[in-house]
């Protein structure tokens, strides 16, 4: 075919293989610094006060409930025999799962050179940290005597005993703690150059002082950048297996047991996929409103970004669906009557509605994302992400509750009913999460400015280096 006489179909095809720009055209480095910093520097908007008073109230509820729980005992939860792990562990796994997207975006997408991550990684990493904090509350409370939880840390003590390092719960303590600490380091390392921006723009003494301290005296010379880039790469390289390991270890809590419905070998990758799924859903849940409030952010977090995140959502949702299928199939294929009964009970027992919700939200609804229409209309994306959030909570609930309510012996069967403390604490963790996030967008740059500047077309002086 001669050039210049392209058919309309071919024309459209050409257009659709064009890469969408990562930052809307016309946005310069200066604009990025000015706009992103201005979010932090401007007078606190009214909606922020409204929002934080809501989340703060919920946070107070959490504090009150936690105090009540510590003072009274774990019995104020609905946990019982046989359901010793209930909403607490469900919520723990739910939050820790949400805490996976941030590091995934920062680390894995960094290693795979997915440059679109730059606009969303900061907020996602912050979300990770806050979610892990929310998650950590539950196992800490669940140990019962909270003041004894230091027993999880291997230090020499007057009891002459040591932790059982072969226990999945111990692995969990190590994994979650490591994950939190490494994520903090990773997040802070990424913040340093942006904190320097805020420092350099600061006009008040208080700002100069605090941002000056936090920026550590960053100057942005090549002598610093070259080590900085290496350190960032290394931290990304370390975080990648770490992020996979954390939810795998969480899955070991269940899968290393012999309880039907828990003991299944696909749990580690399945949990990881679920965590990424839930985490991305939460990132979308937060960023879409943020884009709506701060409209120019739409030039940095473009529809193309949302589209890509939706593809991740679709992919991981499908992996989760695959895992549901495999669990069901293998339960049947195993020929083990307990396995078969457990899964039959899951789908048809008194908790069938939770199972149905889980399938609907995690597998069925995300299939809409096969269509570009749903991926590029933020309202739809928001709705689907909400479904995913709900679905992932129910997934954890289905796993925890259905396997425990039915023991091997019918005489020890029982149901779970949440108490008001269960419900209020769960709501309260959203308050904690929201409060921390609101504080974050108020005081720290929510877009990684220097990385976005680096993906602007003008930033890359092409240099040689071919073989």
């Amino acid at each position: 075919m001669a050039e210049g006489t392209l058919s309309p179909v071919e024309e459209r095809a050409r257009a659709s293989v064009e890469r969408a720009p990562l930052v809307a055209p016309g946005r310069t480095r200066g604009w990025i610094s000015d706009y992103v910093s201005s979010i932090v520097e401007a007078k606190t908007p009214r909606w922020w006060w409204v929002a934080i008073s809501i989340t703060g109230t919920l946070l107070l509820v959490l504090i009150a409930c936690t105090t009540y729980l510590v003072a009274t005992g774990v019995g104020v939860w609905g946990n019982n025999h046989p359901v010793g792990w209930a909403w607490d562990i469900t919520n723990f796994v739910f939050w820790i799962g949400i805490g996976h997207a941030g590091t995934l975006i920062s680390a894995i997408l960094f290693l795979t050179r997915q440059k679109w991550r730059t606009s969303i990684n900061r907020a996602a990493e912050a979300m990770t940290l806050f979610a892990v904090i929310c998650a950590a509350i539950y196992p800490t409370m669940h140990v019962g005597r909270v003041w004894m939880s230091w027993f999880l840390i291997p230090v020499p003590n007057a009891n002459g005993i040591w932790q059982n390092f072969r226990s999945p719960l111990m692995w969990d303590a190590f994994a979650v703690l490591t994950y939190f600490l490494v994520s903090v380091l990773f997040w802070y390392t990424g913040l340093i150059p942006d904190l320097a921006t805020l420092r350099d723009r600061a006009t008040t003494k208080v700002r100069k002082f605090f941002y000056g301290i936090l920026a550590l005296g960053w100057r942005g010379g090549n002598r610093q950048w070259r080590h900085y880039e290496m350190a960032y790469l290394l931290l990304a390289g370390l975080s990648t297996p770490l992020v996979l390991s954390v939810h795998s270890v969480v899955s070991f809590d269940f899968a290393a047991s012999v309880i039907p419905g828990w003991h299944t070998t696909i749990f580690p990758p399945y949990f990881v996929a679920g965590a990424i799924f839930g985490g991305f859903a939460m990132v979308l849940t937060i960023l879409i409103p943020a884009r709506a409030v701060y409209r120019p952010l739409g030039d940095l977090i473009t529809v193309s970004h949302i589209d890509k995140m939706c593809k991740v959502l679709l992919f991981t949702g499908s992996i989760v669906g695959y895992a549901y299928l495999m669990e069901m199939f293998m339960a049947w294929y195993s020929g083990n009557p307990f396995e078969r009964a457990t899964f039959w009970y899951r789908a048809t027992g008194p908790y069938w509605w939770a199972y149905a919700l889980m399938i609907l939200c995690n597998v069925a609804v995300p299939q809409l994302l096969w269509f570009r229409f749903f991926r590029t209309h933020v309202i739809w994306v928001f709705v689907i992400a909400m479904f995913a959030n709900v679905g992932m909570w129910f997934e954890r609930f289905v796993i925890v509750a259905t396997s425990l309510t039915r023991d091997f012996l019918p005489s020890s069967w029982g149901m779970f009913h949440p108490t008001w403390v269960d419900i209020a604490m769960f709501a309260g963790t959203f308050g904690l999460f929201g409060t921390l996030f609101l504080l974050f967008i108020r005081f720290l740059p929510m877009i990684c400015m220097f990385e976005v500047k680096a993906v602007l077309p003008s930033a890359n002086p092409d240099s040689g280096g071919k073989l």
Binding site: M1, A13, F252, A256, M326, E327, M330, Y333, S334
Partner: protein, 393 residues
């Protein structure tokens, strides 16, 4: 449109290699035939082992082509044709599967009428029965072959027309293939390997086979690309930047394989449920245990440590060495999936193991060489070709 010499494979480079591969294949098959007459069970297991090994390589190649299109990748454009060629070996593999049909009851004991009364088997009879089994096998090959051929056909068509539409079509084929591929791989792994011992089950099994497939096909890609480079192709197209990415992917999938393998082993070891541990008890006893330990060290520790520093990943020669080593370990991995079910007392090598690998391997090499010259060595008019060549890490 005629291809430039550097775009088209010249058979002079293999000399009589093509004929040699054909001859070797014929000889090996003759040997196998004799072996099958002497010891049909040994033949059945050896042949399945060799078949699965080569099957995973094609499977992995198909997976990478699909990933390439699905994520709209850039860097892999120059080497995509070689992946397509490897993926298209599925039609040959379908033919090579036929001998297994004749020895099926010797291989898959559940087909043996003598076992029909087994209560566990009766529980699973709705899945493990002959008509359904063969039907599924047909579906697997249909999906694999269909997907691989469509992807390659559009890609080759683009060489001639330069139409970007081919890219779009391929993207659609890739998207449409993902779900069927995942299901087919899983159930093929269940049917051909897991059902060798019908008591045993593991939900991650399909993923485990897939992890090995993705890794070993990358190794084959490294070897093929380097071989082609060594005879003068891909000059200025495939640079050390590409090798660097391949090296990183090798490292990533080495870790992924270990992760999946560890998950499966650790959970079964930890829970210690009799019907599950049987698989690993068999492989962790006596001389099999030596090979199992070798697998852990050779398939994970060694390549992991070799691939960790960034220097080696940019050296084609080094990377080829590692790729060859991983392939050998993948061979061992598949061996340990299949053969312990036959020699339950310990490792007993047989000449048929070797002959089966030679027979299937040389046949596939011949088919591959044939495909190599059928089209350009890389998608010469892919819209992203230039970006792929200009790759910077």
């Amino acid at each position: 449109m005629s291809l430039r010499p550097d775009q088209k494979f010249d058979y002079r480079h293999v000399g009589y290699g093509f004929l040699a591969a054909c001859a070797l294949s014929a000889l090996a098959f003759f040997g196998l035939l004799i072996g099958a007459i002497l010891d049909v069970r040994q033949f059945a297991f050896s042949y399945l082992f060799a078949f699965v090994f080569f099957f995973t390589i094609s499977l992995g190649a198909l997976f990478w082509v699909i990933v390439h299109h699905a994520v709209d990748a850039e860097w892999s454009v120059v080497m995509r044709r070689q992946l397509e060629n490897s993926a298209c070996l599925f039609s040959a593999l379908a033919v090579l599967f036929i001998p297994l049909v004749f020895v099926a009851p010797d291989l898959w004991a559940w087909m043996d009428p003598a076992n029909a009364g087994n209560p566990v088997l009766q529980e699973k009879a709705a899945y493990l029965n002959r008509p359904f089994f063969w039907g599924r096998t047909l579906v697997y090959f249909a999906v694999f072959i269909g997907s691989a051929y469509l992807l390659r056909a559009y890609s080759v068509a683009q060489d001639a027309s330069g139409s970007v539409r081919c890219t779009i079509y391929n993207r659609r084929v890739a998207f449409a293939s993902i779900v069927p591929l995942a299901l087919c791989v899983t159930f093929a792994a269940v049917d051909w390997l897991m059902s060798l011992d019908w008591h045993w089950f593991s939900t991650i099994w399909g993923v485990y086979l897939f992890a090995g497939a993705a890794l070993s096909s990358l190794c084959v890609l490294v070897l093929v690309v380097t071989a082609l480079r060594s005879v003068g192709y891909f000059k200025g197209l495939i640079t050390e930047e590409h090798y660097h990415i391949l090296g990183k992917l090798l490292l990533a999938f080495t870790i992924f394989w270990a992760y999946i393998g560890f998950s499966q082993y650790m959970l079964i070891w930890y829970a210690n449920i009799p019907e599950e541990t049987s698989y690993f008890i068999l492989r962790n006893t006596g001389s099999w245990n030596v090979l199992s330990i070798l697998l852990v060290v050779g398939h994970f520790v060694v390549p992991f440590l070799l691939l960790l520093p960034s220097l080696g990943k940019r050296r084609p020669g080094f990377l080829c060495g590692v790729a060859g080593w991983i392939l050998a370990m993948h061979l061992l991995d598949v061996y340990l999936m299949v053969l312990p079910e036959l020699h339950r007392t310990g490792f007993r090598p047989s000449i048929l193991d070797l002959l089966a690998v030679l027979a299937i391997g040389s046949t596939l090499v011949a088919v591959f060489l044939k495909a190599l010259g059928d089209s350009a060595l890389y998608p010469i008019r892919d819209p992203r070709l230039q970006q792929s060549i200009d790759l910077q890490n």
